[in-house]
């Protein structure tokens, strides 16, 4: 009998190729058309307009969903107002908390279904939606459930009350997680919400609507209306809305802030970033490499707090670049549904074009450009992880937010130079500091103008930790007690 030898005797090397390990999408039942969620029921848009939802990994149609216009936004706000006055504002906090706990529990039970749908709709690798997005979304509901009956302890000695109906507009990079960040504190504080998911990723928010039904949340407490920017405008301009919470681009954030100022609405904004990841020569080098990779290539770099500017001490710049190149080439780019995929698809054709355009313009300014040599899938919106060095803070890729897997690298000689370079940006969302020396980390952290600072790690989140930025990165904080306050009025 001759049998196939899996390995050659005394062979000098063997290649170890991982067979595809695809997550099954059978769990997800995609409807042909997804409707708006108003007053506890799924209803079509008044004029029955729909939009296409595209799978970014294939470029093919996934499903259709309703486009909400002004009339639909009116209906949603009316339903929320009614629910607020008749049910939610009268309900004791402990009862509201029970609903939030229930939503958290159902999210955990249906986690796999959510993860699969999130990856299909957004292009992010299944391992990220499975291990990051969905568990953290459930954790946010769980955390704020605990606050619902303790609101009078938020501000010691003072009384607080809810606002009424709040409008919430969320981005496409962490679709379900951003919905959780918005809805959980608003509900815990006693408000009712009308939420608008991003037009490229409405599906998990609509599945969350099903969870609200399953949890028997009173109709109208959560309403979800889908559509493009015009849907968001209808919401922002609605007179019965007391507050707008927005996460997205700085450009749109400024427009919303202006409208809210004119109409006397409260507003919180979580906007863009160009965060610095600072590596000192006394850092644990191999672990810093992981932090750099996690900082910029996590979710294809489509993260508002991405560590998109690497500042590295000159003495170790060469080592870092050498190791980074090698590491980039071990990142597996491909089908988001494959459990071994590290880098999935860019969220949309539009974002894909934007990244390509910025990279082209950035490269044209000179410097040293390097990108992964891994092959790309033949279809879908895939971009190789890359970096550019030998440029300065004046260059395009050190100034604009790319929102893609693009890292710019600069060196520094002294801590003061590192601080100056890190703060040389219109943004101030996050920063990372890598050093084995605690006192140095404390010193640098105090001097950085950024809302979130990680020491020897990056992109770590916890529902109890406030998140938000300085300067053009936004107004207000989300998460923790600080994320609850913007949904409350204080009476002293």
């Amino acid at each position: 009998m001759t049998r196939k030898k899996m390995i050659k005797k005394g062979s000098s090397s063997s290649t170890f190729t991982y067979a595809p390990a695809l997550e099954s999408s059978a769990l997800v039942k995609l409807k042909k058309g997804h409707q708006l969620f108003i007053n506890g029921r799924f209803v079509p848009a008044a004029d029955h307009t729909t939009m296409n939802s595209i799978n970014p990994a294939t470029g093919k149609l996934l499903t259709k969903f309703s486009v909400a216009k002004k009339r639909d936004a009116d209906k949603a706000v009316q339903a929320a107002t009614k629910a607020y006055h008749n049910v939610w504002s009268k309900m004791p906090g402990i009862e509201r908390g029970k609903y939030l706990f229930r939503i958290s529990r159902i999210l955990q039970i249906r986690a796999k279904e959510f993860a699969v749908l999130e990856s299909l709709d957004s292009g992010k690798p299944i391992k990220e939606s499975r291990d990051f997005d969905i568990p953290l979304a459930a954790a946010h509901f769980f955390y704020y459930a605990g606050w619902a009956d303790k609101l009078n302890y938020c501000v010691p000695g003072q009384q607080v009350s809810s606002l009424g109906v709040v409008g919430q507009i969320i981005p496409w990079n962490f679709p379900l997680l951003m919905a959780a960040w918005k809805i959980a504190p608003a509900l815990a504080a006693g408000n009712c919400v009308v939420l608008k998911p991003a037009e490229t990723t409405p599906l998990t928010a609509l599945l969350l609507a099903e969870v609200c039904q399953e949890a028997e949340l009173p109709p109208g407490v959560v309403n979800i209306i889908t559509g493009p920017a015009t849907t968001g405008q209808a919401l922002v301009n609605h007179p019965a809305i007391k507050k707008i919470a927005f996460t997205g681009s700085t450009e749109v954030g400024k427009l919303i802030a202006k409208t809210c100022a004119e109409q006397g609405k409260l507003v919180t904004l979580e906007l863009g970033g160009k965060s610095a990841n600072i590596v000192f020569e006394d850092a644990a080098i191999d672990q810093a490499i992981e932090g750099i990779v996690n900082g910029i290539y996590f979710n294809q770099g489509q993260v508002c707090c991405a560590g998109s500017r690497l500042l590295v001490e000159e003495s170790i710049q060469e080592t870092i670049i050498k190791k980074l190149k090698r590491r980039i080439n071990t990142l597996r780019i491909g089908d988001p549904m494959d459990k071994n995929t590290d880098i999935g698809a860019i969220n949309s054709a539009e974002q894909f074009q934007k990244i390509k355009k910025l990279v082209k313009a950035g490269k044209a300014e000179g410097g040293y450009f390097y990108e992964s040599t891994s092959p790309l899938p033949s279809v879908g919106f895939f971009h190789r992880p890359c970096f550019i060095s030998q440029q300065s803070s004046a260059n395009l890729l050190n100034r604009v937010e790319v929102f893609g897997p693009v890292l710019s690298i600069q060196s520094f000689r002294t801590p003061d130079e590192a601080i100056a370079k890190a703060n040389d940006t219109p943004y101030g969302l996050a920063a990372g500091i890598w050093s084995d020396k605690g006192s140095k980390i404390q010193h640098i952290a105090q001097a950085l103008k950024a809302g979130v600072i990680w020491a020897n790690t990056y992109n770590k989140f916890d529902p109890a930790a406030p998140f938000g930025g300085y300067k053009e990165s936004g107004i207000g904080r989300e998460g923790g007690l600080h994320g609850l306050l913007p949904y409350l009025e204080i009476k002293s």
């Binding site: 009998m1 049998r3 196939k4 030898k5 899996m6 390995i7 005797k9 062979s11 000098s12 090397s13 063997s14 290649t15 170890f16 190729t17 991982y18 067979a19 595809p20 390990a21 391992k127 291990d131 020569e281 006394d282 850092a283 644990a284 080098i285 191999d286 672990q287 810093a288 992981e290 932090g291 050498k322 071990t330 459990k339 071994n340 084995d436 020897n456 790690t457």
Partner: protein, 320 residues
């Protein structure tokens, strides 16, 4: 970067880098390899590869000539080739390779050498007063010499942990060099750091570099007599040290995690890690070994599962 200066016995100096390792991140990265999903053809390939990398080990006071004989035969032929004929999809079974080496105490070396001769299976002897190393140094050298003369082709020595932990790095360095001298070209030298006694990753990294600089052909985590033995994060730190040493000197040093690797699943996690840290050139029995006593049968069981779709009975394979 801080370094430790050491004298080379016959003149000259060398400096050993001593830089920090971040515990939290190392453990996180090590865990990431366990989420890789290795299936189908890739899994079958990995299982066969793992067999060919196994150092089949018995290190008990109660070892008998009978047990050593059994172990050596099992090492040469983990499973009789015609054994699978009665099973479903028999023709699809891959050829089962012999294991990399048999690993025994010095007293068992002559017997094992006789059986293994010409088989292609290496003979590793644990030496230098394994596992504690608490013996006069001259006697440790004698121990090594005896093993090499008796036919051991690989020497698994333990470092002097007492000296290392008290900061007498020169002594540790000199001892490894002296053992390497005796091994010469006749035997490969594996240096056991006993990471379970060094505790911190910083120290493990330092000891790895020191051993490589002193002439180790392989660095090995553990004796298997101290808990914890091999772990993924410890192995990761050592693999990264091997890579950095290779970049600096051009020398490829092998890696052997030992102790605690009992299942195919664990073995595959290690292979994934080697693949992603060092690459395909290290995915060979020449450069990577598993020190294990109960891994082999689980690898065989999993191969049966892959081919026949059913788990093999525990008693199907001979004890090892």
């Amino acid at each position: 970067m801080p370094t430790i200066g050491l004298k080379i016995p016959h003149g000259g100096k060398v400096s050993i880098p001593y830089y920090p390792i971040d515990m939290v991140n190392v453990e996180e990265r090590a865990k990431s390899f366990t989420t890789r999903s290795i299936k189908n053809a890739a899994k079958l390939e990995a299982l066969c590869l793992a067999i060919s990398m196994t150092d089949l080990t018995t290190l008990e006071g109660a070892d008998t000539p009978g047990k050593i004989t059994q172990l050596c035969h099992k090492a040469i032929q983990p499973m009789p080739e015609s054994y699978v004929l009665g099973f479903k999809n028999a023709a699809d079974f891959p050829a089962i390779p012999h294991v990399a080496a048999v690993c025994v105490y010095p007293a068992m070396v002559p017997l094992a050498a006789e059986i293994l001769q010409g088989s292609g299976v290496e003979l590793a002897a644990v030496s230098t007063a394994f596992p504690s190393g608490q013996l006069d140094f001259a006697l440790k050298l004698k121990d090594v010499k005896k093993c090499v003369q008796g036919g051991a082709t690989e020497i698994d020595m333990v470092i002097n942990r007492g000296a290392f932990l008290s900061g007498r790095y020169q002594k540790v360095f000199d001892e490894i060099i002296a053992v390497k001298d005796i091994c010469g070209e006749r035997a490969h030298l594996k240096v056991i750091l006993e990471t379970g006694e060094l505790i911190t990753y910083d120290k493990i990294r330092l000891a790895s570099w020191l051993a490589m600089q002193a002439g180790a052909d392989f660095i090995k985590t553990s004796t298997g007599k101290i808990q914890p033995a091999a772990t993924m994060p410890v192995t990761l730190v050592m693999l990264q040290a091997i890579w950095d040493y290779y970049c600096e000197t051009g020398k490829m040093i092998g890696m052997k995690p030992a102790g605690g690797i009992k299942t195919s699943k664990q073995a595959i996690h290690y292979l994934v890690m080697v693949n992603e840290i060092l690459g395909a050139e290290w995915l060979t029995p020449k450069m990577f070994r598993f020190g294990a006593s109960s891994l082999l049968n689980d690898l065989l069981r999993q191969i049966f599962k892959q081919i026949t779709g059913q788990y093999a009975n525990d008693e199907l394979f001979s004890v090892d």
